[in-house]
């Protein structure tokens, strides 16, 4: 295992300390590193809180700030955060307007956010993301997995929360955005969890995992490496098949690197995906390309498509000021 770490047991704490120091104008680390919150909380609005296992950075802590999350709860690597983290975060940033949890669909995450929601004495609701079309049920999830589309839900709902929308309206917008979103990923290599010290799975020099999850969970099939046109063609086809006749209109396209795939390749993938979508009659109205929802040091990428209505596009365009996404201010 070749990583910049001191000790698997302290990697999360040390990384969070470095993150908070780098972005001290935007975020503050909570007591005992239970959560990351905005440096300047705004308790008058509905608080948006997300979280999940670490190793997917910049998701979620890198998306805390004006126009997106109010706080994020980082679990240990690939491990759900605990209800006490969510409660501490809610107490730090939420007021009477309530709190909306944005939860990726993994059993541990859903269970712990549910427990936190029941223990809160302010209005609380949740949106669960399940955008991964690869498989219907997986290692850690009942139903589809929540993956890179979660970023789009957080951006859209975050902008609406900033405008003062109420809890129920935000929950409905989040669910609508999730339903309009589809993702699929491929892995060229495994990731290595620091505490395990060895690759999560094996993949040969001439093969890839099609439909991989963001923890290295199995996807649809192991297939031979191929040219980018063929790989991306199969990814886009999987998304379009899942959308069926809904696959039309304007869209947000996110090409997301898993951690070890360089920008040069991600932009090449973006070019192919965009061309295929447009030849299918979908207008790619907005694009985001980069490593935003990662799987530690996995080489690979995912394609996410959101069929965006006018409100979603407006919320996407709204100002945002977080460590990882920043525009309009």
């Amino acid at each position: 295992m070749k990583k910049f770490i001191n000790d698997p047991a302290s990697v999360l704490a040390e990384s969070l300390d470095g993150f908070a120091a780098a972005h001290s104008g935007i975020v503050t680390l909570g007591e005992d590193r239970l959560y990351v919150r905005r440096a300047r909380p705004n308790p008058g609005k509905v608080a948006l809180i997300s979280g999940g296992g670490s190793g997917h950075e910049p998701l979620h802590a890198g998306l805390v700030g004006h126009g997106m999350l109010d706080a994020a709860c980082p679990g240990q690597v690939f491990t759900s955060p605990t209800p006490d983290q969510m409660l501490a975060a809610a107490r730090a940033v939420a007021g009477e307007a309530g709190v909306l949890f944005i939860v990726k669909n993994y059993e541990g995450d859903v269970m712990n956010f549910d427990m936190a929601r029941e223990m809160l004495d302010i209005p609380a609701a949740a949106v669960t993301t399940d955008d991964d079309v690869a498989v219907e049920t997986s290692t850690y999830s009942t139903g589809r997995r929540g993956v890179a589309g979660t970023l789009i839900v957080e951006k859209v709902v975050g902008a609406a929360a900033e405008l003062g929308h109420g809890l129920e309206s935000l929950r409905a917008l989040g669910e609508r955005t999730n339903r309009a979103t589809r993702s699929i990923g491929v892995a060229l290599t495994s990731c290595t969890v620091p505490a395990a010290g060895k690759p999560t799975f094996e993949v040969g020099e001439d093969e890839l995992e099609f439909g991989v999850g963001i923890h290295g969970e199995p996807g649809r099939r192991r297939r031979a490496m191929a040219k980018a046109d063929e790989m991306v063609g199969e990814m886009v086809a999987a998304i379009l098949a899942d959308l069926g006749t809904a696959a039309k209109g304007e869209a947000i396209l996110l090409v997301n690197g898993f951690g070890a795939t360089p920008a040069m390749e991600l932009y090449l993938v973006h070019g192919i995906a965009r061309r295929l979508l447009e030849s299918h009659g979908i207008s790619v109205a907005r694009s985001l390309v980069g490593s935003y929802v990662t799987s530690l040091d996995m080489a690979g990428c995912s394609v996410t498509l959101t069929l965006a209505d006018a409100e979603m596009l407006a919320m996407w365009d709204a100002p945002v000021h977080t460590p990882a996404l920043r525009w309009g201010m």
Copy 2:
């Protein structure tokens, strides 16, 4: 070689097409893909043009936009761009105020930018960056190599150019910023150039290359893998030793990933570097952490320190709107 590509011969063109499509509001691809320029050129100011071999994305094309470069000339992977690219770029974006080339110190780049400068019929000057303290002369350079510090020079000079500073003043500011900047990098793995199809160099499972160049050039020594504290300690010590008694005051700290190192590790490195610098009496006034000056799919990172005076800090903070760096607007 496991990459998202179709053909080594077309990887640059396809990646540029995807890049230009993703950022069409900010950049435009020049004819025959000779250069990337701002979508909205501002010919009244001194034009800032950089470029170099591709494979270091987002440097340089991702730094074209308001507050930074006016144009960038992408060579083939790890290959200098040609003088006709630089001339075409200058003709597209420069006016009577002239053009300043920002050139990383590699023999091919320096020679070709020199040729372009001599062929131009408008005022033209150049700043050559050589921030890498690893070695005094290298595979492709006479003198020190220009590496991640180039981004800081481009940001500082770019902001001053936006304010209307003249060519000579910008050249002097660029040289001052370069002289205040030091970098050192380590590689945990090699990169693989698409046209070569195999790793540029070999590095064992238990070793790293200390002082590596951004094309995989040899550094100071091959050493055993170690804990992050020890690796980063040696990096910071190399920078401080080179600065000598100048190592004090306020600084900009850039922790830069080489392409395959995830954010979690980069932030951990940032935390260590920052602590070491501050214990040495240097105040880390600004931070940037991410993969900005990459070496294709190399795992590793570099640390860059700029001892910044008040003007440099003000220029660093000034608004910027490029694909890869965006703040204040």
